[in-house]
């Protein structure tokens, strides 16, 4: 079975996100007054051949922790699309 797995990477709380802050200020300039904070991150879609959804999730988790995310500054979330 082929699974499409989304890996989302976000900066950990407390890590400076100058891009997010700058985009946030731009949104303020555009009068998006209700937007109080913007955080930036990365998104990867992996096509994974696996027996079960749990297996696909495990492969994605290994990929995220070994390469896609830097655990010093980033955390990740995994979502199996199919």
């Amino acid at each position: 079975m082929k699974y499409s797995v989304i890996v989302r990477i976000l900066l950990k709380d407390g890590v400076l996100d100058p891009q997010g802050e700058t985009i946030g200020r731009a949104l303020q300039d555009l009068e998006f007054d209700s937007v109080s904070k913007v955080s930036t991150g990365k998104l990867f879609r992996l096509e994974i051949n696996a027996e079960t959804e749990a297996d696909a999730r495990k492969v994605a988790g290994d990929a995220a922790s070994r390469l896609l995310a830097n655990p010093v500054i980033e955390r990740y979330e995994i979502e199996v699309a199919r």
Partner: protein, 235 residues
């Protein structure tokens, strides 16, 4: 005495590093290709600045898994001396040889200018023979040079005096204005637990000839070589 300068696709300070170490009399310098598995008997390994593998994913994230870096990790783990400059520092944090991470500059801009560093600890082979508080002038050139580490790691680094270099103003004070990239505690350079792995964002190899505006980088190059060689060196 042999110095190996690693060359990745996208390295652009490899020739500068080569030239800087070549200025010391009797030093043999060679380039080590990223796909090689052989450090060719080097006594010191230099990971130079640049944009290895295009800085794809994160600066240094791909280089960390290259064949030569696997060898560099083995070398460092057995006490071998490694100096990472700029992108080299990023590779060393990504590989776990040094703690922390280098993140996007706080001002979002690529910063390329002369800065002043204060030597914080002279009990390292990179800063030996200097005076405590010596000021060094050399350039920085990076977009992702903000040093970050969690509080626990920072306390450990400060207590064990592994922060070797800090960004300071002309009076030698570590102010926010002297910090080019938002590095925590104005940290510009650190070493590992064992005192054999060094990482710094500023470029000593670009400050080794008077025509380049400063020769202060040569102090670090010479200190490192003389400490590893076990005696004074002549330029």
């Amino acid at each position: 005495m042999k110095v190996g300068v690693v060359v990745f696709p996208g390295s652009n300070c490899d020739h500068d590093a080569y030239s800087a170490f070549k200025l010391v009399r009797g030093i043999e310098v060679s380039y080590l290709w990223h796909a090689s598995h052989d450090l060719e008997g080097s006594d010191i390994i230099v990971l130079p600045g640049g944009f290895s593998y295009g800085d794809y994913l994160r600066a240094g994230a791909i280089a960390r898994f290259s064949p030569i870096v696997k060898k560099v990790i083995e070398f460092a783990s057995s006490g071998g001396v490694v100096l990472g400059i700029c992108n080299g520092f990023q590779i060393l944090t990504e590989s776990g040889l040094l703690p922390g991470a280098l993140i996007r500059n706080s001002g979002l801009r690529f910063v390329c200018r002369q800065i002043i560093l204060r030597v914080e600890n002279i009990e390292s082979i990179l800063t030996a023979a200097m005076k405590q508080g010596t000021l060094l002038k050399m350039p920085v050139a990076h977009g992702e040079g903000g040093y970050f580490a969690d509080d626990e790691t920072l306390i450990k680094l400060e207590r064990s005096r592994r922060i070797l270099l800090r960004y300071v103003d002309a009076a030698g004070v570590a102010t926010a204005g002297a910090n080019p990239n938002g590095s925590i505690n104005n940290i510009a350079g650190i070493m590992n637990d064992g005192g054999n792995v060094f990482g710094m964002m500023p470029h000593p190899e670009r400050a080794c000839e008077a025509t380049l505006g400063s020769v202060d980088g040569m102090q670090l190059v010479k200190a490192l070589i003389s400490q590893v060689a076990g005696g004074p060196v002549a330029r």
